[in-house]
């Protein structure tokens, strides 16, 4: 029947992205591009004080500003039962607009609605708020003392939010005590902000039937719909959430923010559409921050360098509300992956979180819930241990890797690692970068007093949340979903519960469907982000799209295939059992010449289906049996300028193992981007507060996002160890470079400084910190 040439397959093809033509021509449609007739603009009044009682709010002058239509305050919302908003992991709530007092600088105090952007800003400026300053708690260690209780609204009158622990406490203590070698280090992963270039924003409108249409920068539109239904009491069928094109998310666009609720209230109250687009200052000061973990890491080892035990005790700064977007059962996310790539016989990890007068958050910034912190802690600590044992960083790692034959590997902190070949990945990296030559060069330079460092990070992360028995957000299990429809001509559409923010789903999802069905990916349309059409899914963050939704798509495609098999049997005039799927088409078992393509079957499914059900579509809700465990080896080479403290990253190689690669072009792009954010955290990015609780990095002049000039040149390579439990063996990659690279950079700088006896410097490694460390170390040497 078929004479078509063999389909080459779509998996592993470096296909150009299908979504790009609209972006390169300025035809993307982001939230701020949406203008509705008679739309109003909203601006927020924010507190200059980090902790203060609100003694009065005078809106009378604001209401006189030309163009201002209304002003709402916390009191108005509270009266309507909208004073508070539950946070995503369900353990706390957050004020929508300040009620009685403010708890962090730039907290939302009032919302102004006006005819133009300018009038809204004029109105916000005219709102007069009087504050009575209260004592400020600006760091979590001060919060522990409970001298000032920041959240008297809570049942427990303490700043302590939770204690979480995992592993064998006593066993770990015993093993540590018995270890001949021990290292202990306080490692702080500084507060960061994802700062996507498009700030958060929304447009809210109630249509003539009273149904809410809500355009919003959301990484998880379905969860928003459910959350909004719960918060506002609007029935869920009357809420339509649309995530249009999103200009980067990185975890920042997972939580529901107070501004969204205000915009909806304004749209309802004024019966006009309302647009709210954050300013960059609002983005950096009030929406979800990440990290801020103070980790005391302790490792025990034998004299020969075999690790015996790991203990990590963390103090976490969560800000004024516990708005961490973690799954309910995991207040500290996947921090339990802190044993990393190493075979620790026993381990214990604990996290204590505190309220402070800082912005709320604790979101997963390009990270699967606290994996970045965990990975940094273990990779940094292993280097400190290597230094202590006088071993190279590579040798210590080799000695302690989980071996290939140990997979599936039950970690002492409760995960079952799916697959990996850490030794091979490390060897590939060291050979490719010329590790031995670098060591020689370094020795020669050290002899001349020059500071050159080589940093290695051999990380393992855990992504793809997650199996329903463990993972939920607001009670909703963390499955994901896909619906596939194949049209008569063999073109089709796939809809998923995820939402791309640049990851290229319109291309990769099409490739998965095309691979499974032997169709042309160019004619598989991908649609996401519209809750009226997409199946319910938990969204895109925590590297869960490929591990969960990617699997759902493959499984839905296989369901389509099973249905198509029946039609193929009819066309081939054989029993269904005699039809096999081979080389991207259906053929009669043992008779390759007798075959039909999916395209032919698709047409028949609508025109000649015989007794079969017409049409060709299927859906699948995928509940992953396990997480996936991408891993890799990163090597950084740095040169340090003694006089200025500048660290120059001369060379960087990333060898990633993310399992099966769907699109190498996109995988490489994800790695470049993640490495750049890892570089940013290692050297530049930090959200700082002074002791008075003032936010010091409120815009891009002080929150330092690297430009093309600071960013190093990246080299990449891959090893492929498929995930055994994922339908196509893919593990996810978007976060690996961001999770694995900070330690490589910092280890490189510390390696450069090790001849001076410098052991650890907290990120970001600014010029001054490095300069100071060198100067202090030299002064100390002189004294000796």
């Amino acid at each position: 029947m078929s004479t078509e040439v063999k389909h080459e397959g779509s998996l592993g093809v470096a296909m150009k992205r299908k979504e790009d033509p609209r972006f390169i021509q300025g035809k993307g449609r982001y939230v701020d591009d949406i203008s509705l007739p008679s739309m109003l603009y909203m601006a927020l009044v924010r507190s200059p004080y980090p902790h203060a009682e609100i003694t009065s709010i005078d809106i009378s002058q604001a209401l006189k500003v030309p163009g201002v239509k209304a002003v709402i305050t916390g009191k108005d919302l509270d009266a309507a039962g909208l004073g508070w908003l539950p946070t995503f992991h369900g353990l706390d709530k957050q004020m929508v607009l300040a009620l009685g007092k403010v708890l962090f600088q730039y907290q939302e105090v009032a919302a102004v609605f006006a005819e133009t952007r300018g009038a809204a800003a004029d109105g916000a400026e005219a709102v007069e708020v009087e504050y009575k300053p209260l004592p400020v708690v600006a760091d979590p260690f001060a919060a522990k003392a409970d001298k000032v209780i920041l959240r008297p609204d809570r049942e427990r009158k303490t700043n302590h939010i939770y204690h979480w622990e995992v592993g064998d406490k006593d066993g770990t203590a015993r093993a540590l005590a018995a270890s001949p070698k021990r290292i202990k280090q306080r490692i702080w992963f500084q507060r960061c902000h994802p700062a996507p270039l498009e700030p958060c924003g929304c447009v809210a409108q109630f249509d003539t039937m009273g149904r809410l249409q809500f355009y919003v920068t959301s990484q998880a539109p379905h969860v928003y719909r459910t959350a909004l239904a719960i918060v506002t009491g609007i029935p869920e069928d009357k809420i339509h959430v649309i995530s249009p094109d999103i200009g980067g998310g990185f975890g920042n666009k997972v939580p529901v923010y107070p501004g969204y609720v205000c915009a909806i209230v304004g749209a309802l109250k004024l019966a006009r559409p309302v647009k709210w687009i954050e300013t960059r200052t609002e983005n950096l000061t009030s929406t979800g921050f990440a990290r801020d973990y103070h980790m005391d890491v302790e490792i025990g080892a034998t004299a020969e360098g075999r690790v015996t035990a790991l203990h990590v005790a963390t103090t976490a700064d969560h800000g004024a509300f516990d708005a961490a977007a973690d799954p309910t059962k995991y207040p500290a996310g996947m921090f339990g992956v802190v044993t990393g790539s190493y075979d620790f016989p026993v381990a214990h990890a604990e996290v204590d979180a505190y309220f402070t007068n800082k912005a709320p958050g604790g979101i997963a910034y390009r990270c699967s819930f606290r994996v970045t912190e965990a990975s940094f802690a273990i990779e940094r600590a292993m280097d400190i241990l290597a230094d202590e044992l006088n071993m190279t960083a590579a040798d210590l790692r080799r000695k302690n890797f989980i071996r290939k034959e140990q997979f599936p590997y039950p970690s002492p902190l409760g995960f079952t690692y799916d697959s990996g070949d850490y030794q091979k990945t490390l060897d590939t990296a060291l050979e490719k970068i010329g590790y031995n030559d670098l060591l020689k060069e370094q020795a020669a330079k050290r002899a001349r007093g020059e500071l050159m460092g080589i940093g290695i990070s051999t990380f393992t992360e855990v992504v793809g949340a997650g199996p329903s028995k463990h993972f939920d957000i607001l009670g909703i299990k963390m499955f994901d979903s896909a619906e596939i429809r194949i049209h008569p001509t063999g073109a089709g559409i796939v809809r998923a519960g995820t939402k791309s923010q640049g990851q290229g789903h319109e291309t990769t999802w099409a490739q998965i469907v095309a691979e499974e069905l032997g169709l042309d990916p160019q004619n598989i349309m991908v649609e996401e982000g519209d809750t009226d059409t997409a199946p319910y899914g938990l969204g895109t963050y925590a590297s869960r799209s490929t591990p969960v939704a990617g699997a759902a798509i493959a499984m839905a495609a296989r369901r389509v295939r099973e249905k198509a098999r029946k039609v193929a049997a009819h066309l081939l005039e054989v029993a269904e059992a005699d039809v096999e799927w081979k080389e991207y088409k259906f053929q009669v078992r043992g008779v390759p010449a007798k075959s039909v393509t999916m395209k032919e079957v698709a047409f028949a499914a609508y025109t000649n289906m015989a007794q079969n059900e017409p049409g060709l579509e299927a859906s699948y809700y995928y509940d992953p049996p396990n997480m996936t465990f991408p891993n890799g080896t990163y090597v950084a080479v740095v040169d340090i300028d003694r006089e200025t403290g500048e660290s120059k990253v001369r060379k960087f190689l990333a060898v990633d193992d993310c399992g099966t690669i769907i699109n190498p072009l996109i995988v490489e792009g994800q790695i470049h981007g993640g490495l750049t954010e890892g570089f940013a955290m290692a050297f530049m990015q930090e959200i700082q507060y002074d002791s008075e609780g003032n936010h010091l990095n409120t815009n891009f002049t002080d929150y330092l996002v690297p430009t093309s000039q600071e960013t190093p040149h990246w080299e990449t390579a891959q090893t492929v160890t498929p995930s055994p439990h994922h339908p196509i063996g893919a593990k996810g990659v978007g976060e690996s470079p961001n999770v694995g690279s900070p330690a490589a950079f910092v280890n490189a700088v510390m390696d450069a400084l090790s001849p001076l006896g410098v052991r650890h410097i907290d990120m970001p490694l600014t010029r001054e910190k490095v300069w100071r460390a060198i100067r202090d170390a030299e002064a100390k040497k002189k004294q000796l």
């Binding site: 200059p48 004080y49 600088q105 916000a124 002074d690 008075e692 010091l696 409120t698 002049t701």
Partner: protein
Amino acid sequence: MNLGYSGEEKVAANLATVWAFLQNPEKVGWCLPEIIDVTVQDPTHIDAVVQVAVGPVRGKFKLKVELAPNPAGRRIDVKVSGGGFGSAVDLTAGADVTDAADGTTLLKWSGQAVARGPIAAVGGRVLEAQAKKLIEQTFANIRQQISA
């Protein structure tokens, strides 16, 4: 941001004259630089409006001023808090008042400014200049006014 300053003014008047001046809130209020308006609330509290003008930055700041003259302790403390530009500024300043015995009086002052909000975050370098000027000028004006 947190800024600290100090300085000294020699007033060509005796101690009694100086204290008489310092205990008059209206008079002290008008010593704030670029002052536009002073409203006396009570003997130790005034509301003031000052014009801020440094480089491109121009605007009005509404200030609440609390005076704590203490002739016995030979000291005057001033607390200023206020706002403008969606920001808040708290200034505290104090001066030790000593009789120089030659008919003049010495004001040894020191002050501290804390700014919050966009003015500190964006206008940091501008504010630096302004806060210093505000405190310095206030004491210089006090000297001039008393001497006049």
